[in-house]
Symmetry: C2
Subunit: 380 residues, 2 copies
């Protein structure tokens, strides 16, 4: 009997854990709001208040100091009931990483879903956005996000790749599709575009409105070691050419010409796109560099070598590339200045390119918007 | 210049964050071991030592008390350098959830991947296992795990389902497949079988050895509200019949007869399997109930109603079901006693069934092994 009661208690405890924690905090003094869609099921906090202030609340009677780090750090205040709480400034549209800092240790908030970013599993909060219709789940035909393992002949190990296949992919065995290869930023991985980026929703909606061609979107893991040095950039180029592209073209129904391949990436992924893309315009006709640009002065050697290459090959590059699309998240993007230096250099070298800007800084709301604006330009 | 340096520092910091934290702890006094495969990239700890003791190490100079909760709680010891560490007892094969408890708050370890379990994103550690060849990544044809959203006419909301499609699924548009619907436990969701369960590896390997028929494995989210009461069980039954099965059979190439449908689940998912399965033997010819059984006395009303139903319909049930497979994770499984009570009742009612036992308790290593043993019995 004791064992059965134990089982029951454990199961019920597990099931109602998040809910019960939160309900305790449910009283009349708390402003009206909605739980963030990124909360784990049943968790009331983080609670999104009018004007997108966010209220955090957490039981931690034994902690000395608790903070929320949403780029800006907020000190939580301890109440007599052992609950800590804080209400933030108004937070901008869409997805933002955050951390819960407990007595100096940055960790994930147990009330939130976790997302691989900042080099670890971090919390994320989705702020409702009136203009977010383009990434909303709608009653349109939906594609699949596929998780697939492949053996890398470069790393000599099994690696994971996420692949969006568009609606209708399964309906025939004859139709072939162009492919957008899209890369996450530093401290992220192959899950970034699939989860934080809402790639499936953005593409489903664009395709339904006939604003973008049906395409595969391949989201590789660009962490090949070597960091931001040329070694890392070369390793990724090798992985793309030796492992990823051959794997995708062997296992999925793809159109295997440069005109049907695009490469794009954000931040660190933008650097990989610059390196692998510009040196391989016979492989990719479309390049997208989001919130990036060579990091100066550290990467000036890499940058100058590439600018020399561009100078000597400007005709070929301009002929090969149908689109060389660069973007920044406004002046508040930490990559903004590097991007502007690069744009001036491309002008000087007469390398054709487009530039797009959307305010929001070095963040996922900007990159979702980048994908939404970049994808319709592909494979025309 | 200040901004550029800021960018560089931020990117490099992000990139090497985990690595640098861990490398600090790298000294000659630390026993030889291997980082757990569930660590985030670059994290040295948790470190698996010989005989599967696990060493945890974490920098937390300002914390008052730090513990590792691996069912058994271990107090970490603070060193003069601000690092806390502890070495656990020997830990059993395969995947185990754990928590980092910082000054009383149970959270995920920033050095580990997170997994939805225990009603929140929890840490998990994969312990190497000599007998784990059946879920190892091998050079065999691989299927895909697909993430798909569907609109539930029951919850009136968009929900997510994970679907394993076997190798070769994309090669034709003519071949149709049987389907195993498999359910997670309490505090888990549709990601459980795909991630913790290694469903893709287990099926890829079984299919390659021709030990299991190529099949789809559908991993729904069984959290429909209502908990362990009949309301929750009924809601899941409705979701399966009204939303999930019709969605799968409309969107994937499935054989749509009872003989080509199996339903299985672990713990809470086993209860859903009992309820939805036994009352719908015209829909499913194969049932798998892993580490489960009606929870007595709380569910005795539900159990007695079902036993009465079985008594009145034993001929039909025995004719309809080709397999009614029950299992427990040995006597140490918290569901063991409930399971034994149910087995005796099935004997009494002359309901045909099979029983399988594998030691390891109420844990994922047991459920992986269950899938490995159950899948080959299906769709013969």
């Amino acid at each position: 009997m004791k064992k059965l009661t134990h089982l029951l208690c454990l199961l019920l405890l597990i099931y109602f854990q998040a809910r019960s924690q939160d309900n305790k905090a449910d009283d009349a003094n708390i402003p009206k709001g909605v739980p963030a869609s990124t909360n784990i099921r049943g968790a009331k906090y983080p609670l999104i208040l009018p004007n997108h202030h966010v209220m955090f609340r957490l039981k931690a009677p034994d902690a000395q100091k608790v903070q929320i780090d949403l780029v800006k750090k907020y000190d939580m205040i301890k109440g007599d009931d052992g609950f800590w709480s804080v209400t933030t400034d108004s937070v901008g549209e869409g997805f933002h990483y955050y951390s819960l800092i407990i007595d100096g240790i940055a960790t994930a908030d147990p009330a939130s879903e976790s997302f691989y970013g900042m080099g670890r599993m971090a919390s994320g909060i989705e702020i409702p956005f009136a203009g977010g219709d383009y990434y909303a789940e709608k009653d349109v035909p939906h594609g699949d996000i596929r998780i697939r393992t492949y053996y890398s002949t470069v790393t000599k190990s099994w690696r994971q790749v996420y692949i969006y296949t568009p609606p209708g992919y399964d309906a025939t065995t004859s139709e072939k599709y162009p492919v957008l290869y899209i890369l996450h930023g530093g401290g992220e991985d192959e899950r970034g575009w699939a989860t934080q980026g809402k790639t499936d929703m953005i593409l489903d909606n664009l395709i339904a409105e006939k604003k973008a061609k049906p395409m595969l979107v391949v989201m590789p893991d660009a962490n090949l070691g070597g960091g931001f040095g040329e070694e890392g950039l070369k390793a990724f180029q090798q992985e793309m050419k030796q492992s990823i592209i051959p794997f995708i073209e062997k296992n999925y129904r793809t159109k295997n010409t440069a005109g049907n391949r695009a490469l794009a990436g954000l931040s660190m992924g933008g650097l990989n796109t610059l390196y692998t893309g510009v040196y391989n315009t016979d492989l990719f006709s479309y390049l997208g560099v989001f919130s990036s640009g060579w990091i100066l002065p550290v990467q000036s050697g890499i940058a100058n070598t590439q600018y020399d290459f561009m100078k000597q090959n400007s005709t070929k590059i301009n002929n090969d590339l149908r689109l060389f699309w660069l973007s920044e998240g406004g002046k508040e993007d930490i990559a903004y200045k590097n991007g502007q230096v690069m744009l001036a250099k491309l002008d000087e070298l007469k390398i054709k390119h487009s530039y797009y800007e959307y305010p929001g800084g070095h963040t996922w709301p900007v990159w979702r918007n980048d994908l939404y604006n970049f994808a319709p330009l592909l494979f025309k």
